[in-house]
């Protein structure tokens, strides 16, 4: 088990990220509010550099009471990292594939994070 120093806490803005390397291991660290999430930079789809993708808000479809579609919108509560290779979206809070929400499709490999004295750390095996 290793404790990897990632960056200063204030270097990451809300919904920001950084991708770091340590002995060949690449880790993406994301900030949502006061929370930090760390994932291996390896997409479970085809091995792409998922953490080097862009962050998007979740897209929802608006239905009226008659079940008619009223178009799509962004949902600020769902924040996704999108793998730049083929566009698979993963929920930054859970690391899970963000679609087909009733079933488990695939997940990113996550690491615990810690903040101490203004520094952000990831705990890796």
């Amino acid at each position: 088990m290793r404790t990897v120093r990632i960056c200063r806490e204030d270097e990451l803005e809300d919904q920001g990220k950084t991708v770091v390397e340590i002995d060949g291991l690449q880790i993406g660290v994301f900030r949502l509010g006061d929370d930090f999430y760390a994932y291996k930079n390896l997409c479970p789809h085809q091995g792409g550099p998922v953490c080097q993708g862009r962050i998007y808000q979740k897209v929802v479809e608006k239905l009226d009471p008659d079940m008619k579609s009223r178009g799509r919108d962004f949902d600020a509560d769902g924040v996704h990292i999108v793998c730049p290779w083929h566009g698979l979206e993963f929920d930054i809070r859970t690391g899970k594939f963000a679609g087909a929400s009733d079933v488990d499709i695939m997940s990113l490999e996550g690491y615990a994070t810690q903040v101490q004295d203004g520094d952000v750390y990831a705990i890796v095996e």
Binding site: M1, R2, T3, V4, R5, I6, C7, K17, T18, V19, V20, E21, I22, Q26, I27, N41, L42, Q46, G47, G48, P49, Q52, G53, R54, Y56, V82, P84, W85, H86, G87, E89, Q114, Q116, Y121, I123
Partner: protein, 408 residues
């Protein structure tokens, strides 16, 4: 807090975008290639792409008709923000990048400092190196719509201009690059002229019909073309595409639906006509390659045609075998995008198409659904010989290529 804290280093590329170097973008594929020892494998990518419209000002210089060429050059010079001269297509209906989520599909604006070869050669080399591909066939992108061009003459002019530009200015830059030159298929005599003129050009390993079109492939006017292509020993390929002008496909309101169906539908129709009209019986040595429709459509068509043929054999009197037999013996298929969500389905598909001899690796790089060679190499239920065949040796046999290892 653990006393043993180790420092990390910020990665030089924090976020991939349209300016990211292909080698950085595909760095994980390079790592996989090293781990899997691909340098010792002959890997042939039968379907990668370049964006010919970036260099349209060069392409139009090769238009043979002097009046059209002059119009095209004036148009490119003076019209601000206009689409490429003479080219039909879907203009702004290009949603492949999912709103910027997949930047490499939007454009490759990376820096190229090399000046000794065409920019597209450098971009292709970078992808070849990252994917460990020894031979890469490049196709155009918007020109895949050419079959829907309202002016058959313009299809001929643009196809010929592109073929000339590609074979004279791009392919000579790297012997690892190859082309299945475009046929102006809506003008059969011109398609024959293309075969005559381009069959022996260096780097030309076959001929392409862009599949989005409404001419039936069994029309008598094509028999001379098929005979000529059979004579060259090089395959004819049907490269799939989509388009929003098809009324039933236009009911799809998402690119997801349009792409999923469109890229299969055009080849489903052409394959049906190809087989039921006995083209493989008429031209037994003519090899056909079916590109970029994925694989799951093939078992569907095989089963559907076999079932119906049994009841209506008098409507397909040239057949001496079942439709699926021709599809398994006379046809080759590129794997991409390889639908993998059902292992049972994929296994059955491999068996039904005889993947060991008929399946060809294709990346479709740099498009949004590209496949790296690992999609084949990591399949646990096929043997190594099959993997090597699919990744390269089947292509070597089908296209008559020397399996030269470039990255060893």
């Amino acid at each position: 807090m653990d006393a043993n804290i180790v420092p990390s280093k910020a990665m030089p590329v924090q976020e991939m975008d349209v300016y990211t170097d292909t080698r950085d973008y595909l760095a994980p594929a390079r790592r996989d290639a090293r781990e899997m020892g691909f340098a010792d494998w002959f890997i042939c990518d039968i379907d990668a792409h370049h964006l010919e419209t970036v260099h349209w000002h060069e392409v139009i210089e090769h238009i043979e008709d002097p009046v059209v060429r002059h119009q095209a050059m004036m148009y490119q010079k003076e019209r601000f923000g206009a689409p490429p001269y003479g080219l039909n297509g879907d203009l702004g209906l290009r949603y492949q990048d999912v709103g910027g989520r997949i930047p490499h599909q939007s454009g490759q604006r990376e820096k190229v400092e090399e000046t000794d070869v065409h920019r597209d050669v450098t971009l292709t080399r970078r992808a070849m190196q990252a994917l460990c591909v020894d031979k890469m066939v490049v196709f155009p992108t918007p020109m895949l719509f050419l079959g829907m061009h309202p002016q058959a003459d313009m299809e001929v002019l643009l196809t010929r201009a592109y073929n000339k530009w590609l074979t004279e200015r791009v392919l000579p830059g790297d012997e690892g690059m190859a082309s299945l030159v475009l046929l102006p298929f809506n003008s059969p005599e011109e398609a024959c002229r293309t075969v005559e003129e381009f069959a022996d050009k260096p780097g030309v390993i076959g001929f392409t019909v862009t599949s989005t079109r409404y001419k039936p492939v069994h029309a008598n006017e094509y028999m001379r073309l098929y005979s000529m292509i059979e004579e060259t020993g090089k395959p004819i390929a049907f490269h799939a595409g989509y388009h929003w002008q098809d009324p039933s496909l236009a009911t799809c309101n998402s690119f997801l639906g349009m792409h999923a169906l469109g890229f299969a539908w055009c080849n489903i129709v052409h394959m049906t006509n190809w087989v039921l009209n006995g083209i493989p019986e008429r031209f037994p040595k003519l090899k056909s390659v079916w590109i970029e429709s994925g694989l799951s459509w093939i078992p569907f068509v095989m089963q559907r045609l076999d079932d119906q043929y049994l009841m209506r054999m008098s409507e397909a009197p040239l057949l001496k075998q079942m439709p699926s037999d021709y599809m398994r013996q006379n046809c080759w298929y590129t794997c991409q995008p390889m639908e993998k969500s059902s292992e049972v389905g994929l296994k059955a598909t491999f068996e039904m198409i005889n993947a060991k001899t008929q399946l060809l690796y294709a990346s479709d790089w740099p498009h949004f659904d590209f496949d790296a060679p690992r999609v084949i190499a990591e399949i646990p239920w096929i043997d190594e010989e099959s993997k090597r065949n699919i990744l390269g040796m089947n292509a070597a046999n089908c296209f008559g290529l020397e399996p030269k290892l470039r990255w060893k």
